[in-house]
């Protein structure tokens, strides 16, 4: 492993269920395959017992041995207080361990293509942004116990969106399509809201998006996949109906996100980047979106998404 982490990409991988190691293995393999070095994986486990942690270490051993240049560190989150789904707390545990320049997040059931972080680091360098996003393809998998990784049957393009305003409207950038440059973000701003059991990634994007420049230039590059399995195991299930209790939770957190839109003020520098000149004092995300929707404001022309990405996104098969 590299001792010098100054240019390291550190990746937080949250892992909450030892039984899902097969899916985790795919995420780890896609990280080992990354062309960017130095690379450090912060595997944050949620309330694993000692026995579970030992078993995990044994299963990680061959992955560590494949490429010793990739550092694979397990961070144990053991606090029992707080939310049952400690996804935000796991993020904060990973952030507390991070020491490199670049920070990323990859969920245990998603994958990145080998050039992903090289593309995103280059995007950050070229744009001067604090956060860069790459394109993430949606892929559908049929669940099968015989094939634990699922059987791929459809690639659905990617979620529509290409600008900061699109991010303000909806979360179209999956977490693992993001890389942030910690040297351009105040340490005090790097935290996840541990009161959220859902949309913690989107809240992160909204909050940072009001204060730091985002780069969407790498959306042209599909750098990974968001994998939908048809057994409903994703946080956002593709085809199974959401039951009433779960829907109630969704609504509650969606309302919370809307409250954030109403309270998060867009910094003058970000407004300037959007072409709002002079900046409006106290302009919130909701205020901006309402003005746009009422036709009271027009923004600087955003760069159009390259045609080939549109073509890729429209290459819908079956669904």
């Amino acid at each position: 492993m590299h001792d010098d982490l100054s240019d390291a990409v550190e990746v937080i991988v949250r892992f909450h269920n030892p039984a899902l190691f097969e899916e985790l293995s795919g995420a780890l393999l896609s990280l080992i395959a990354q062309s960017w070095r130095p690379l450090r994986v912060l595997l944050v486990t949620q309330r694993f017992t000692d026995a579970q942690s030992q078993a995990l270490e044994a299963r990680l051993a061959p992955f560590r041995a494949i490429d010793p240049s990739v550092s694979l560190d397990v961070v144990r989150y053991t606090r029992e207080d707080g939310l049952a789904d400690a996804r935000s707390a796991l993020l904060n545990a990973g952030i507390a361990e991070a020491r490199g320049r670049y920070l990323a997040v990859l969920d245990y059931d998603d994958v990145l293509y080998p050039e992903a972080y090289t593309v995103l680091v280059n995007a950050l360098s070229a744009s001067g942004g604090a956060v860069a996003f790459g394109g993430i393809a949606l892929k559908s998998l049929a669940a099968s116990t015989a094939v634990p990784f699922g059987i791929g049957f459809a690639r659905l393009g990617r979620l529509p969106g290409q600008t900061l305003v699109d991010t303000f409207r909806d979360g179209f950038c999956p977490f693992h399509g993001m890389l942030l440059d910690r040297s351009r973000i105040a340490k005090a701003d790097l935290w996840a809201d541990d009161s959220l059991e859902l949309f913690e990634d989107y809240e992160w994007h909204l909050r940072l998006g009001t204060r730091y420049p985002f780069s969407y230039h790498a959306l042209d590059n599909i750098i990974g996949e968001y994998r939908y399995k048809d057994d409903g195991s994703n946080t956002v299930p593709l085809r199974l109906s959401i039951d009433a209790p779960r829907m109630a939770i969704w609504r509650r957190y969606a309302e919370e996100i809307e409250r954030r839109r109403a309270s998060l003020e867009i910094a003058p520098a970000i407004q300037a980047g959007l072409g709002i000149d002079p900046p409006l004092q106290g302009l919130t995300i909701r205020g901006l979106l309402d003005r746009l929707d009422r036709g009271e404001m027009t923004l600087r022309q955003q760069a159009a998404l390259p045609q080939r990405v549109l073509a890729y996104a429209s290459a819908e098969v079956g669904l």
């Binding site: 041995a65 494949i66 990145l112 094939v147 990974g224 080939r308 290459a315 079956g318």
Partner: protein, 481 residues
Amino acid sequence: MTINPPSPRLAQAERAPVDHSPLALARLDLSRLHAALAAREKDLAAREAALASANAALKKLETDTNSRLWRLVKRIQRSVSVRPWLHGLLRGLLAAGAGARAPAPPPPEASLILQSGLFDPDWYTARNPDAPRAPLDAAAHYLRQVPSRGHKASDRLTVTDPSPAFDTAWYRTENPDIGTENPLLHYLRIGRHSLRAISALAKASAEAARRQALGLDLPPPRPRLAIGLGPSTRLATATRAARSAAISAQQAGLEDCMLLWPGPAAEAPPGTTALDLPDDMRHASAAHDQMLRQAAARGATLYIAADAEGFFAPDCLEALLRMSAAADNMALIGAADFPNEHPRHVDPVSFETAWAGGACLLLPIGPVLALGGLEPALDTLAAVDLSWRARQAGLRILACPNARYITSQAAPGTSDWVAPEHLLDGYRLARLWGCEPVAAAIGTEIRRHGGMPEEPGPDPLSRNPDLADWSNGFCFAPSRW
């Protein structure tokens, strides 16, 4: 050079401009409309013929009012206690006559479900006495009768199943996203494309068949295995490939797995046996062909051709060996390129595919040597050529979804990578298989880019042009995406 078949990005790059341009889409729509129109006209002609026949029969009955049959019909009409099936027959007969005045055409979906093989008219009408006997009308009856909403998960709608194979209630329970759509129509429109099952039995059967195809219930195989790493000038990645091969072999319980390297010992990754092949055998297909022969000489029965730019998942080798054992070691088996699989179609139950290949390919040494080995005149398409020859010889061609080989394939559509070498290889492949029109077309394309087609050397092997499938261009199989 590798023996990789065409990469996903090439496949995407080749298709995307054609598939998604407005003009192409308009042409596609037009061709679909033409096809739909032709189908409707054919259906209309058949229905008109049936109608004419029914009208003729009715006219005959009406003119022969003294006939015993007509009297019987009249008596049944007056009867209070009619048998349902007879009543249905009568209604159908009368409807046929009335249809001449006000025909009610079945919905277009009726033809769809009739052609699907999942609607059995005889089975359905036997359980639904009021349904018309004519298959198309019975299908229309099914579409009208199957309720689209209001059924609980526990409902067993056996009376409205379209055939014994399709379990309507089960399908509805398993697929809550169905909404108000007819379950069979939903399956034909979406479900069959997304690998959904039509009954609990079908689902269990498919899963059992997958387990069998993957060899999951077999004892761990322990064949004499040799792994050949393709040529690479990057020692770091080749070392990673070698290390991952050793780890995967250990996980599979193989104690005497051979790891072969085509180059000199001074450039060999640790743990490999360097063969120091002559320079003209250092491109992938020639190198793998030589390493396969060396492996045979050293007693191996299975050979894995691996791209030294990629690496094995720890469980990759065991998955490949299990599938090979399940196929009696008479199959070419490609590992799954991970994380970016090639888009070629793979049967989701048997895992049969049109060609085996990718960055990691398992070969049964004896049968492959009997085929003449890998074609050294080819480069990236050697695996396609071998797959076609293997099928000709009766070998199976499989893709193993549980065997992940991590490759450095770039994202589809993100690169301007063009493959002049791939075109040249396609030209050679077409010539080897005697597909002259294809060779001429590729040759034109090569010249258009300023290149010159290279003639393949003398072919010592016999190839059957009928087995060469160019219908999918350089994808060599329908796309699964």
